[in-house]
């Protein structure tokens, strides 16, 4: 039988860093392939190559026996491949129908055939189980509903191959069940499916075959029946689970560094109270949209609270905080998106390192002592093992993800903070660098600083936190001590399944 999809030695590098190396596999038609791997293992890159978003540097692809080399997404679409992305590409100010057909509206005599568009959209919506009129504006929909629109959009071309990239991140349990039913139906109609997800349980439930990516290479491939979750994790990580995280040296917590009471901001955070002590790591777990980053921004003063009170490490309770105040009071904030908010990408590494602590090196009318600041920057770079040829000249964007994150940490360590908020600190960073960062986090806590660790990765948060708060829809819905938690309890709390049950 001709393979539906056949890859041979596909390779791709970004800026000299290899993302995929020699990927080869065959996918039988009408089967579902579960593709798993850590962040940065290459799953998205591989799908982008398949979907025509980027071009491979080397290798060949074949689609149902024909050579396949898309140059742009439209080519993939034309070849019957539907790519349902992780990041939603929808236009909020347009309707569902307009979004579905945005690239190719049905036409009649040169003009858009709206009735045809609407009726086809309605049929697709029925297929994915979204009970909304096709004229609804997308901006009114919840993230889960938008994800279903994205699915509908993909299915509109009646594809032979569908790629799902993390489709369930925003879905409720009910929507997830509906999606799975849809997927099974598609499979039975002969559509070939590639399913990418972090949720290994879902993957095992749906897949006929499984492929594991690690650091850009295909390390395992076979029938789903040959795999179990433990085996998958081991293959994804490359070492035993125990060695993924460093040993945690929990100290007995000291003075209260942060006390938040009733922090509220309409539409984001609802009546959150928490406290952090010196030497403890408080984890905050939750799904996307739970309000964790929003909470961090409120604590740090990037957004204003509608009501509530914050007592920062200097002890003074406040209703209004600014970043300058927060820093002066001993706070630091390693943001989620280091590219947009963490670093000045085009500026030299040294400039980035000293940015938050510039005032320390200034005298008189603000004149900066360049020698002193550069020396301090070099010292910090050495301490954190930041690999760069010359930090005074090299721009931050030339560093790898792991090194970039070290620069961000270095910047904050230079203000000698007492409490550090870390928002997804290991996102987009490879395994080796992650371990180093976990070690740093552990050391910071041992040295007496307080840390808030926000993460979507349950393993990470379970390994590193002393206490765990679970947020959902802007509220803290559960708190767990290290001694009394389990993966299932935490996930249930995040999904609010306790109520539904």
């Amino acid at each position: 039988m001709t393979a539906a999809l056949s890859l041979a030695e596909i390779s791709k590098s970004y800026f000299g860093v290899p993302a995929l190396t020699g990927i080869s596999f065959d996918l039988e038609p009408g089967r579902l392939l579960g593709l798993v791997g850590q962040n940065g293992a290459g799953k998205s890159t591989l799908m982008n190559v398949l979907g025509g978003v980027v071009a491979a540097d080397a290798g060949q692809m074949q689609l149902f026996g024909r050579p396949y080399a898309p140059r742009r997404p439209a080519d993939a679409k034309a070849n019957g491949i539907a790519f349902i992305h992780q990041e939603l590409n929808l236009f909020g100010n347009l309707t569902i129908a307009e979004n579905i057909f945005v690239a190719d509206f049905p036409r009649r005599r040169g003009l858009v055939d709206w009735s045809s568009a609407r009726s086809r959209a309605a049929k697709l919506l029925q297929m994915v189980g979204l009970a909304m009129p096709p004229d609804t504006l997308v901006e009114l929909l919840s993230p889960g509903e938008r994800q279903l629109v994205e699915v509908a959009k993909g299915l509109s071309v009646e594809p032979q191959l569908v790629i799902f990239d993390e489709p369930t991140t925003s879905l409720t349990a009910r929507e997830t069940t509906q999606l799975f039913a849809l997927i099974r139906r598609l499979k039975s109609e002969g559509t070939t499916i590639v399913y990418i997800s972090h949720n290994l349980g879902d993957v095992l439930a749906l897949a006929d075959d499984i492929a594991v990516l690690r650091e850009g290479q295909l390390v395992a491939q076979g029938r789903a029946t040959d795999f179990d979750i433990g085996k998958m994790i081991k293959l994804m990580i490359g070492r035993d689970i125990d060695a993924l995280f460093p040993p945690r040296h929990s100290a007995s917590p000291g003075a209260v560094l942060l006390q938040a009471q009733g922090v509220t901001r309409r539409g984001a955070v609802d009546n959150v109270s928490l406290s952090v002590r010196a030497g403890e790591i408080v984890g905050i777990f939750g799904l996307m949209g739970a309000g964790r980053t929003e909470l961090a921004r409120l604590i740090f003063g990037l957004d204003t609270m509608d009501s509530g009170q914050l007592a920062l490490p200097d002890g003074v309770p406040r209703h209004r905080v600014t970043p300058q105040m927060a820093i002066a009071a001993g706070l630091a904030f390693v943001t989620e998106d280091r590219r947009q908010e963490g670093l000045l990408m085009n500026a030299p590494i040294a400039d980035n390192l000293v940015l938050a602590s510039l005032r320390e090196f200034a005298s008189g009318p603000g004149l900066v002592d360049d020698t002193a600041s550069l020396a301090a920057a070099r010292e910090m770079a050495r301490r954190l093992s930041i690999e760069a040829r010359d930090i005074a000249v090299q721009p931050a964007k030339t560093l790898s993800g792991g090194n970039q994150q070290r620069v961000v940490l270095g910047k904050w360590l230079m203000v000698d903070p007492r409490l550090i908020i870390l928002d997804e600190p290991t996102r987009g960073i490879d395994i080796g660098a992650r371990y180093a960062i976990y070690e740093m986090i552990d050391q910071l806590a041992s040295a007496g600083r307080g840390l808030i660790l926000i993460s979507s990765e349950i393993e990470e948060v379970m390994a590193m936190s002393d206490r765990l708060l679970v947020m959902s829809e802007g509220e803290i819905v559960a708190e767990f001590q290290r001694s009394a938690w389990s993966r299932e309890l935490i996930l249930r709390a995040a999904f609010r399944e306790a109520e539904a049950a």
Partner: protein, 381 residues
Amino acid sequence: MSSAQLTEQRHQQGAPAARWLKRILLSDYFVLYLTIAYFLGVAVFFPALVEPRNLSNQLANVWPLAAAAIGETFVLLIAGIDLSIGATMGFASVAGAVVMTSAADKLLLGGSPLWGTLLGETGGVLANHPAAAAVAILVMLVAGMLIGALSGFFIARFRLPAFMMTLVALMFFSSAAVWITQSQNIVNLPDSFTNLGAGDVVSVYFGEKATPEIKRRDILPLVTYPMLITTGLAVLAHLLLTRTTFGRYVYAVGINRKAAAVSGVPVGRVIVAVFAIAGLCAAVAGILYSARLEGGRPTIGGGSALLDIIGATVIGGTSLSGGKGKIAWTMVGVLFFVLLSNTLNYMRLSAFHIDMVKGAVILAAALLDVLRTRLLQRDAL
């Protein structure tokens, strides 16, 4: 293959000529090379233009333009733009003149809203006072700063796009200047002020002493007050940007405003300060033009002045997307621009043709800026 090796490989790609061209284009000294090359070209085709008389004359046009361009540089550095710089020049010109004029014609200025209070037939508030010029200059500088700070406030606090806000300021303050003066010029300014426009501190003479009498027109001003004023401003601006925390903050805000805010940079205050500085520089330019034309003129800074100012700054290499630029670059850009204008004038092109050519050159500079940004990003590891 290591990342360093891969980059080298990338650099080796392409014909040697293309590589050399790319290196020149990306060089920070590009505009300097261009100006020197242009100058040499001009020397060959229009030798009259490189005579010292002409050069000295052109230099006189550099100083007022450079003062305004320095201000615009600050604004471009934070990825903003200031369209009101010309209007601020005109308003400042008028504000100062009102204070120091020693006589005003009732027929012309009688309709002014200031007539009877700040302005009368015997002139302004400090008419004929020995300190009139000094106070007037102070008034002009403060007026410029306040106008800038006002724009900056609205841009920082309400997140109005700089383009929109400064456009509004342009319309408002140019109209205000015309209203105050009823479209007239305010003349009768004290000599101590008008000397700033053209006074020589050092003059030179080139050529043999053929006749016992040296022709007046051949005595060329070398060091003039405008030169001293603008050079002083440039040095201060340079120090501010390169040696102070404020300067670092300016670049940080321009490179990535959000990251700067997270890192504790007082973004709002930086924005207000930058626009205030631009207003101050505009006022300095207004002082120089007013002194030269010996009057407070509401039309100073109008016409193609904005094109000249922003154009010279962009040609100098300061990026429109923020975070990249130096005062030295702007000075070279102004020099190039004045040379270019001189050549076009010499070719007797009509005013419209000249503006068209200037526009094309500025467009080329902006495209080059985009091209360079893209090349730099692609080369990044």
